[in-house]
């Protein structure tokens, strides 16, 4: 197991390198010129050329990529923003916790609410509870996030005046932003859980367990649920990844300075180092989550575990 974890951590390195190359290439392909953005409309071409030279933007692609890689992986320096000249590391350190609050709370809520909802629906398939929760889930998955956020603001802030509409501060400030982002996650999770659960419930070993005379509760929670949870783990961790970047809509609407807004503004301004730095940070986070997910799956699914440890055993025999 330890060897497997080490191997996975080492495998993260090429993934992160791949992310750097992909994002770097995308930014190079994007039309528009950071020097033009910095100097504004009145800049002459000579001034732009001079600034590009200074910024190293006139160098060949591979030289620029190499220089960036050297700065990030050897000198551990994300550089400074083209536009504001502020250290990207500092900026990310301030913004990342906010994005993380979104992602973590969204995941916790979707697990805590989505799973029971899905299980209940599956266990009571075709009952009122099933229809009720699934209708709710359907509505949840089909509500566009930003629209939902605006409706929430108009209702809870505009009409009722209960909650603040924007800004950061105490717990109160987080309720609307988190509600608007977590709702979709909860409903997706509930639907996925229901699908997975139904599949398991109708499998042979559950029928077997029922036939043996195991209590219904025990069948559901001891036999069916753990098996149905396996695909859900993957879904949950992937939606965590989505929400790392997906919060940018909520970040914009609720004036929360997270990483998402930072990156998207940088995309618009062609602030290459910011985009790259931000995406690398999110990618590292995501890779760690995926590693943990796979370990979690290995822990709960003996088949996968056998695959991991089995491979090792075979190796020893040779």
């Amino acid at each position: 197991m330890g060897k497997y974890i080490l191997k996975r951590i080492l495998l993260m390195i090429p993934v992160i390198l791949g992310v750097v190359v992909l994002v770097f290439t995308l930014m190079q392909l994007t039309p528009g010129d950071p020097a033009q953005v910095i100097l504004g409309t009145t800049a002459t071409d000579a001034q732009i050329h001079e600034l590009r030279q200074e910024m190293g933007l006139n160098d060949p692609y591979i030289v620029q990529l190499g220089r960036y890689m050297y700065d990030v992986f050897i000198r551990f320096d994300f550089g400074t923003s083209y536009i504001s000249n502020v250290s990207i590391t500092l900026e990310l350190a301030q913004r990342f916790p906010k994005t993380l609050i979104f992602a973590v709370s969204g995941m916790i809520l979707s697990l805590v609410i989505g799973i029971p909802l899905g299980v209940t629906a599956a266990v009571h398939q075709n009952s009122m509870a099933d229809y009720g929760s699934m209708t709710l889930a359907l509505i949840g998955t089909s509500l566009p996030g930003f629209w939902f956020a605006l409706v929430l603001i108009l209702f809870f802030n505009g009409k009722l005046g209960w909650l603040p509409a924007y800004g950061i501060g105490g717990l109160k400030f987080w309720i609307l932003p988190i509600a608007s982002t977590a709702f979709a996650g909860i409903t997706t999770m509930a639907r996925q859980m229901r699908s997975g659960m139904l599949e398991v419930i109708h499998s042979d070993y559950i029928t077997m367990a029922k036939a043996k005379g195991v209590k219904k509760r025990s069948v559901i929670y001891k036999h069916a649920l753990p098996n149905a949870l396996i695909p859900v783990i993957t879904v949950a961790s992937m939606s965590f990844g989505t929400s790392l970047g997906g919060t940018l809509i909520a970040e914009t609407i609720f004036a929360i300075p997270g990483v998402g807004v930072y990156i998207v503004n940088a995309v618009n301004n062609r602030d290459y180092p910011v985009v790259q730095g931000g995406v690398i940070l999110l990618a590292i986070t995501f890779s760690i989550i995926m590693l943990l997910t796979d370990l979690l799956i290995a822990a709960v699914d003996p088949r996968v575990k056998a695959q991991i440890t089995g491979g090792k055993k075979r190796g020893k025999k040779k």
Binding site: T41, F96, L150, A255, Y262
Partner: protein, 545 residues
Amino acid sequence: MVGKKVRRLLAVLLAGTMIVSTAACGGKGGTDSDSSKEGESGAASQEATAAKGEEGALVVGIYGGLDSLNPWTSGRITKDMVTYVLYETLASCQSGSKNLDHILMKGYEKVNDNTFNVEIYDYVKDAAGNPITASDVVFSFEQYMQNWATTVESVKAADDYHVELTLNTTAAGAFEYIVCKVPIASEKAYNDSPDKFASTSCGTLPYTVAGGEDYVNGTKIVLRKTGTYWQTDESLIYPGSVANADVIQFDILEEPTQMALAVEEGRIQFAQYIDPSLLDEVSAKENLELCMVPSSEDRGIMLCMTEDSPFYDNLLLKQAVLYAIDNEAVAEACGYGYGSPSIVTCGNADLTIGYDSSWETKPYDYDPAKAKELLKEAGYDEGELHLRLLCNNNKTITTMWQIIQANLLNVGIDAELNVCEGTTYGSYRDGTSGQYELAYAGPGNGGYATSDLWNTLFNRKNYASGATWAGAKDEKLQELYDKLAAPEGYTQDNVNTFYEYITENAYYYRIYDLPEYAAYNKEVVSDYFVDWNRFIRANTIVVNK
């Protein structure tokens, strides 16, 4: 059985670490773990200060686009709203006026056509007490020039309080523009600041941002008044430098609805900008007052004039296109009753120096019949001409261009609209890019036309292609421009001749005019000052006690 339990326990543990480790990732991603810890604790302590604003603070709502407090790096007008409350310039000038109001500058002397000797007061001090000398002025100019394209050729300190400024142009207004634009700060203060003025400030106005909780990037900025102002002679204090509120808090609100709601509910006392679609609603509130500021941007249409363009050497076609545009509909749709169709081809009566009422002839007013006629005369039958339109994705501008597209289709011109996000638009809008036949152009229209409006549109020296912005290489046009930009060339006659020439030749057409509106709570705010670059100076807002 035991094995199972262990496995389940392990699963729970792993799930736990998954959550915990993500929470700790703040340190993992960054390379500087100390700073990220600071960031986290900063975030935690922010819990204490509510975004509602501190007791007695004046809360001003502004749009985003402010990445740093550094006064010299580029940013949207929102940034000026904040940085010009912290830093002063050498001088300032009122909208449409030729006269400079001196701020840090005691006076200046014109050495020759493009060289100026500027003298600053010898007792200027910033918030930290650092004296401002000529070398600081030079430093500030150099910082500014790293981030902006300017007309400055060189800037040198002659002695402690004299600066020699040489420009690369003799055009009227170039000197005025630059001395009003560059914020001045002490080099020492800049080097002393922890992050190069990104989250803290030290300017000559009596306000500072302390950083930490007072500067939350993308959310709020809190400015606190510091003791005394360097200018002790009250008769010399520039009206835009008056410090009224003790604490000014800027709340950053990206969504127009959020801004309107915030001012309606009293969470902010002053909204920098209210979207035209929300103006009726805001002005209907009894406690709110609108404040009109003339738009600093001409909202115009640029016709591509390169040799490949159908407009090249085809004046009738250019006119046909302009007559086809229903300027009244555009003004109405974009302004919701607050805009007006343009009566001139460019310029603003309140802002442009040399604006003449003789221009107001309603050139190219909507006339679809005439447009069709001209189109035929220009040699195009219905449906024969295909035009590509280019604009950026600003909501108002997109609305404007959808109407233009519909108008062109109406007179039988096949029009295809390409809406790009800002930077792509920026890289396409040069006429020589070959990306459009008709494009949105929003040149600034304040002050001397040779330092803003016409300089942007028609000064061929600005573009490496050697053509104007739209790609025109008209020798007559250049000749007229050079005449205007010559020393003492900015006379009413020359201005009028130039205006008439570009109007007759349909080079550019300002379609409608839409002033910008700020809104404030009149129970709280009783007075304010609008500065030369058309923004309201938050420091001058008088708050009722």
